[in-house]
């Protein structure tokens, strides 16, 4: 055993170090939070806290349910309508919802569904009837959550549909099943487990939703715990209250993460394989499926179109020369670059270490290595249990204790949050691929006695290249679009593009906001589409 460890030290140590660093960070964070609460302030839970918790759970439950229903219907329709034009484009577009900045989505939704939005204007023009304002409050929150999560869910579910053995379909067809029977007996059993893990992920995302609730909630009645923490710090400077809420939030998210215990929502498989299901639908089922695809596509594309249309009318010469824009642009790009590089490095180190504990020929598999594997995985998935506002609060308290320019603290806080936010996704994508290369090349590498560097250059990189490109793009976009910690630390001296956009939206400079929204959308989509292309590799097609 010791011999093995010695031989593998180059593979074990970097990941172990990163893992320790992450856990150490978590420890400091918790320590700070617990130290900062004074006994007097944590009074008994008042009714306000309960109603916050109640609403947070309620909206997360509804959001999850709706997202799953819509996502399932969409995936089912897409799976059975595999031969229309533009399908792969649509699917690729839906998968971009993962990286769309939430604030952009909110902006687009207001343009389309707001009181003066496209839908109401059209309805006024055609029928002289306005649906009024419905986008603020619970409806708005649900609509935005479904927008982001249903498309995300449909992507993973479509993959399940397509991986159902075709023989099963053939058998079902020979038994003369209806579409409904087919769903119940053939498709549902395959979907069930994936559905459960997607549900837990969406629930967690909605439970800690911040930007959407902040902008569309519109009233303290629709606050989630996350927003309430923000308000306690920023509106009331009531740190004791913020801490109390943060601790409740931490307990809840930890329970949720433990309960769901897995984060395998196959974010790695974004490319659809478009395997044809050997079953042509009856006329009515087909119409139904086409209607679902059409409606959801409209729902998904119109807000993006609205951003483009509104944005093109903006005065770009003025926006681009605005000092605050320039500052936020460079801060955002800088932070996104640094944090995506760090994410890729951390994820590679962690996956490298992880495979030692999984592959039996590297280290003997026993309880010890299982525990270590869990610890390493846990350190990478830390962020799931620690929402960004709590992390922000931790950093905020640290910044109050240890004096340094606020810009320094803000940079550290944002970088940490961005890296932690992307790590779970990065790990989910890179770890399986690295495990595979381990299986494939270990014997060869060990027998040729290649150094770590040689191994990396000749074996790992060619296979990992495309996955790395995807992780890079993903974490870059996550970082670029995040409106979490920056909401606590943002100021005119230190701001990112989403924060700047939030400020513009808040000061009724609608045309400038539209311009900035378009710029942010353009950067996000460009990075998300182009970066993986740069890393495309011929070897790694099958990953």
């Amino acid at each position: 055993m010791l011999q093995d460890v010695k031989r593998l030290k180059n593979s074990l140590l970097p990941g172990g170090f990163v893992s320790l660093l992450l856990l150490g960070f978590a420890f400091v964070l918790f320590f700070t939070l617990f130290l900062s609460q004074d006994d007097a302030s944590v009074a008994q839970l008042d009714s306000r806290v309960f109603s916050l918790l109640k609403f947070t759970l309620y909206q997360a439950f509804l959001s999850t349910l709706l997202s799953l229903l819509v996502g399932l219907a969409l995936a089912w329709s897409l799976a059975h309508q595999s031969n229309f034009k533009g399908r792969s484009l649509l699917v690729a577009l839906f998968s971009s919802s993962l990286v769309l900045p939430t604030l952009i989505v909110v902006f687009g939704l207001i343009s389309v569904l707001g009181r003066n939005g496209w839908v109401n204007q059209l309805s006024l023009y055609l029928f002289d009837h306005s649906f009024g304002s419905y986008l603020y409050g619970l409806t708005g929150i649900l609509v935005a959550h479904v927008y982001l999560n249903a498309s995300f869910a449909s992507r993973s579910l479509l993959h399940v549909f397509e991986s159902i053995p075709k023989e099963k379909y053939k058998l079902a067809k020979s038994l003369n099943f209806t579409a409904f029977q087919r769903f119940i007996y053939v498709e549902w059993p395959a979907l069930r487990t994936t559905l459960l893990s997607i549900a837990s992920t969406i629930f967690l995302l909605c439970f800690t939703s911040f930007a959407i609730v902040l902008v569309l909630g519109g009233s303290p009645a629709y606050n989630t715990l996350e927003v309430a923490i923000y308000e306690a710090v920023k509106l009331e400077f009531d740190i004791a209250m913020a801490l109390k809420l943060a601790l409740i939030q931490l307990v809840m998210t930890t329970l949720l993460v433990l309960f769901s215990s897995n984060f395998r929502t196959s974010v790695g498989n974004v490319r659809t394989s478009a395997l044809y299901i050997p079953w042509s639908e009856t006329k009515y089922v087909k119409r139904f499926q086409v209607a679902i695809i059409g409606l959801f596509s409209l729902f998904f594309i119109l807000p993006l179109l609205a951003i483009i249309v509104d944005g093109l009318g903006a005065e770009f010469t003025r926006i681009l020369t605005e000092p605050l824009f320039i500052k936020s642009f460079f801060t955002s790009i800088g932070l996104a670059t640094v944090s995506s590089i760090l994410t890729v490095l951390f994820a590679i180190f962690l996956s490298d270490t992880k495979r030692n504990f999984i592959l039996g020929h590297r280290l003997p598999s026993n309880t010890f290595s299982k525990v270590l594997n869990t610890i390493v995985s846990f350190s990478g998935n830390l962020y799931l249990a620690v929402p960004s506002l709590i992390m922000g609060l931790g950093f905020f308290l640290l910044s109050q204790t240890y004096e340094a320019p606020i810009a320094v603290w803000s940079t550290i806080a944002l970088l940490t949050a961005n890296v932690l936010m992307s790590l779970p996704f990065a790990l989910a994508i890179l770890a399986p691929v690295m495990q595979k290369t381990g299986q494939r090349y270990d014997k060869l590498v060990f027998s040729l006695n290649l150094s770590s560097l040689q191994r990396w250059v000749y074996c790992e990189y060619p296979y990992l290249k495309s996955s790395i490109g995807y992780v890079f793009a993903l974490s870059f976009c996550f970082s670029l679009g995040d409106l979490g910690i920056i909401a606590l630390f943002g100021s005119d001296d230190f701001l990112t593009l989403p924060w700047y956009l939030y400020q513009l939206m808040g000061s009724y400079r609608t045309s400038d906001a539209a311009g900035v929204a378009l710029i942010l959308l353009a950067i996000t989509l460009c990075v998300f589409i182009l970066l993986p292309r740069l890393f495309r590799s011929s070897v790694a097609k099958d990953n």
């Binding site: 519109g218 009233s219 303290p220 509106l235 808040g506």
Partner: protein
């Protein structure tokens, strides 16, 4: 590139040295709400006038709301760059005072042209107005004339208001309702809540939503319509006159204990009572100045809603009950 704190510190140092070298005049930094600081607000005009009179730079930093500006100062503590906080009102000034961050002004404020007598050792008033709901006459034919009428409007009649925890007009509305409904205030808020489209952090955001047509009425001031008349030549914006009287808002400013330019800061507070300042206020901040000018107010101001009386609670009373009034409001809005 790894983040390097030492290099960042060095760069910051370098930049600050460079900026010192290029300009030896002191810079007076004033934190305020964004509508005051923006290019079309009073900020730039006041900056120009003050810089001409006293050899210095004035830097307005606009935050989403004035209470937001106060919170920023609290977050920054003694390291704050602010010399002056401008834009709080008498309702929240006591809360600000409790932080111990502000310095006494030593000015005589007893001769000011205010509807109520004013004495406060820390905060200096610079303008006042009345909180009111503003609507578009072309769209709202029968504006409400009281809080009862407001609650009785049809279901789809929507208003935007501001969060009393972050915005001074928002807090004023809360106190206005409290003063009229006393212990039934919570019950009134429950009745009003279906009409509340959204609650924004600051005034600008609300007003923006209203102008975009998202709501029928917005919580603003009796003097807001003057803006549309003078700047845009539009007379269709009015403020609803409520029979119960209107809550008054006296906006104040104070200098910080940690300020490195206290003399200059005091000169600025004094300057707020000059005729130059008073002439800028009505047509830039759209409120009544606290000193009379030779020219008097612009004619348009005569057409504005004149409240039957000014309701204004004493700052100390407000501070004693603020938290419980806000909690009552929060509970009333729960569903």
């Amino acid at each position: 590139m790894m983040f390097n704190p030492i290099r960042t510190l060095f760069l910051i140092l370098l930049f600050s040295i460079a900026s010192f070298a290029s300009d030896t005049r002191p810079t007076l930094t004033i934190y305020t709400y964004d509508a005051f600081a923006v290019s079309w607000g009073p900020g730039p005009k006041i900056k120009e006038a003050f810089e001409k009179e006293y050899d210095c730079n004035v830097k307005f930093v606009g935050l989403s709301s004035s209470i937001g500006a106060l919170r920023k100062i609290q977050l920054e503590g003694k390291n704050t760059k602010a010399d002056i906080l401008l834009g709080l009102d008498t309702n929240i000034a006591q809360a600000a005072n409790k932080t111990g961050l502000f310095a006494k002004h030593d000015l005589n404020t007893s001769n000011l042209d205010l509807p109520v007598p004013y004495t406060d050792e820390y905060f200096v008033p610079y303008d006042y107005s009345y909180v009111a709901f503003v609507y578009n006459e072309n769209k709202v034919k029968n504006p409400p004339t009281s809080f009862e009428a407001l609650a009785a409007m049809p279901e789809d009649f929507k208003i935007v208001i501001q969060d009393p925890r972050s915005s001074t007009p928002g807090l004023s509305l809360l106190l206005w309702v409290k003063e009229i409904y006393k212990e039934k205030a919570g019950e009134y808020w429950k009745r009003l809540s279906p009409h509340i489209l959204t609650i924004t952090k600051g005034w600008s955001e609300s007003y923006g939503l209203f102008l975009k047509g998202e709501a029928d009425m917005v919580l603003s001031y009796t003097t807001s319509p003057a803006y549309h008349i003078i700047e845009e030549n539009r007379t269709n914006f009015k403020s609803a006159r409520f029979n119960e009287g209107h809550y008054g808002q006296i906006e104040v400013a104070a200098m910080l204990n940690s300020s490195k330019h206290k003399d200059l800061a005091k000169k600025f507070l004094q300057f707020m009572h000059s005729e130059t300042f008073a002439e800028i206020i009505p047509t830039a901040n759209w409120a009544y100045p606290v000193v009379k000018t030779k020219e008097g107010l612009p004619k348009v101001f005569e057409t504005l809603t004149q409240p039957s009386k000014m309701i204004l609670l004493d700052g100390k009373t407000v501070e004693a009950h603020r938290k419980e009034i806000i909690n009552e409001w929060l509970r009333a809005l729960e569903r």
